[in-house]
Amino acid sequence: MTDIWEGLLHAFRMLLALDPDLVEITFLSFRVTLTAVVIASVIALPLAALLVVRRFRARRAVIAILNALMGLPPVVVGLIVYILLSRSGPFGVMGLLFTPTAMIIAQVIIILPLIASIAHQSLRELWSDYHDLLISLNTTQRQRIVTLIWDGRRALLTAALAGFGRAIGEVGAIMIVGGNIDHATRVLTTAIALETGKGDFALALALGFVLIALAIMVNIAIHWLTRTETEGRW
């Protein structure tokens, strides 16, 4: 209990003093996660809409695989990305291992199925409302996808936020591919793991509180900006 209290105080002190290391780590966490969420959303949302509007033979299999991949173990993803980016791997020549880019790649792989699956569920409901109308208006597949994404944007935001939540708290994969290098690839979660290992629980907890506060602030800011709560479903 004392550790938790000390951790809170420590967190406050670091925030008030704008501790340069904390700012750097927090900023990198934010940058890596936000970039991963944007990239994953750009791929996952149209994919989810496509799976809703288009009937093809392997559709059910693709949905089942996406759902299964939601529980993808981050450590395994980290290991695979590590192998692919390591010097002897197929992409080793790009020199991406132990860089923020490698961390972004790992996070995109982890959160893409999650965002796509949640988005698919939301858009399926919307499509059942829109199906007859959009067919009747003779819309093209592209027009249907654009309409679903636009009209379902608030529900899709929730999907993206779920991805953000998972990515910002991710440690296993980015520890492997990022290496937790000070002033290079150290983010909040890997710093917490490091400080816990060193036995500095107060600092680890302080970083933990910053991480939680960051996740809550991003959620509140996005809900406020998009007026999700006040404008309801549509």
């Binding site: 007859d132 109308l133 003779n138 379902g152 479903r233 549509w234």
Partner: protein
């Protein structure tokens, strides 16, 4: 090139071994309002959907006077339950125009004009969900008419509306018909069929039993089933 005549030859729909409609042979041409009547489950909605092209044929043929792609752009469909986009009234009205490539400013001007014409201008910038049942159906109707379709299909558009809303919808339909839109509409309401119809199609068990001038149909139906239906008997 005009859309009519619409010709159906042996048009038939089967789904999962169940016979939904057909074989249907009909020719729709000229102007006016054709009412589709028949008991519940007789195939009225299926008939309209087949002609509109949203229900895939299992056999036979449905042909317009112009190529299918062009034909789809010149028709409208109003559903029994209004299908509205989760957008404002204005954006519901501009949507079909924007699909056709109309400039946004022009589409908005036209949307305002139509909102006023059907009496929902007070909610123009409001989400469509706040409209009452009658207003929703008027919005759906305005959205179908905003493209100035040559043919408009309506599937029991007044089935859940009160007398006043029904009257307002009928007035809009009459003015659309006078402006040259060919209307084909299903209904349960024989009073409405008499008020609006120039022709009547009587459907039973997926088959067209009668297709005649409205006056002749209501005065002297040719088939025993139509006579029973008009008497109010249960027809199977």
């Amino acid at each position: 090139m005009g859309l009519l005549p619409l010709v159906a030859e042996g048009a038939m729909v089967r789904r999962r071994g169940k016979h939904l409609i057909g074989p249907v042979d009909l020719k729709l041409e000229g102007a006016g309002v054709t009412m589709v009547v028949g008991p519940n489950g007789s195939g009225k909605t299926s008939l309209l959907s087949v002609l509109h092209g949203t229900l895939r044929l299992s056999g036979g043929d449905v042909r317009w006077a112009c190529p299918l792609d062009e034909a789809r752009k010149k028709q409208g469909f109003v559903f029994q339950t209004p299908k509205l986009l989760r957008r404002s009234v204005r954006d519901n009205l501009t949507y079909p125009l924007i699909l056709l490539g109309v400039a946004k400013s022009e589409a908005r001007e036209k949307a305002a004009e139509w909102a006023e014409r059907v009496g929902i201008e007070h909610a123009f910038m409001q989400p469509a969900r706040i409209l009452s049942g009658g207003e929703r159906q008027k919005l759906a109707l305005a959205r179908a008419l905003i493209r100035e379709p040559e043919v408009l299909f309506l599937d029991e558009p007044c089935s859940s509306l009160d007398g006043r809303a029904t009257r307002e919808i009928e007035e809009i339909l009459i003015s659309a018909s006078n402006a040259g839109t060919r209307i084909m509409m299903s209904t349960h309401n024989m009073g409405q069929a008499k008020r609006l119809g120039d022709e009547v199609i009587f459907v039973l068990d997926g088959k067209l039993l009668e297709f005649r001038a409205a006056g002749a149909f209501f005065e002297a139906p040719e088939t025993a089933q139509a006579r029973a239906f008009l008497r109010g008997d249960i027809v199977e």
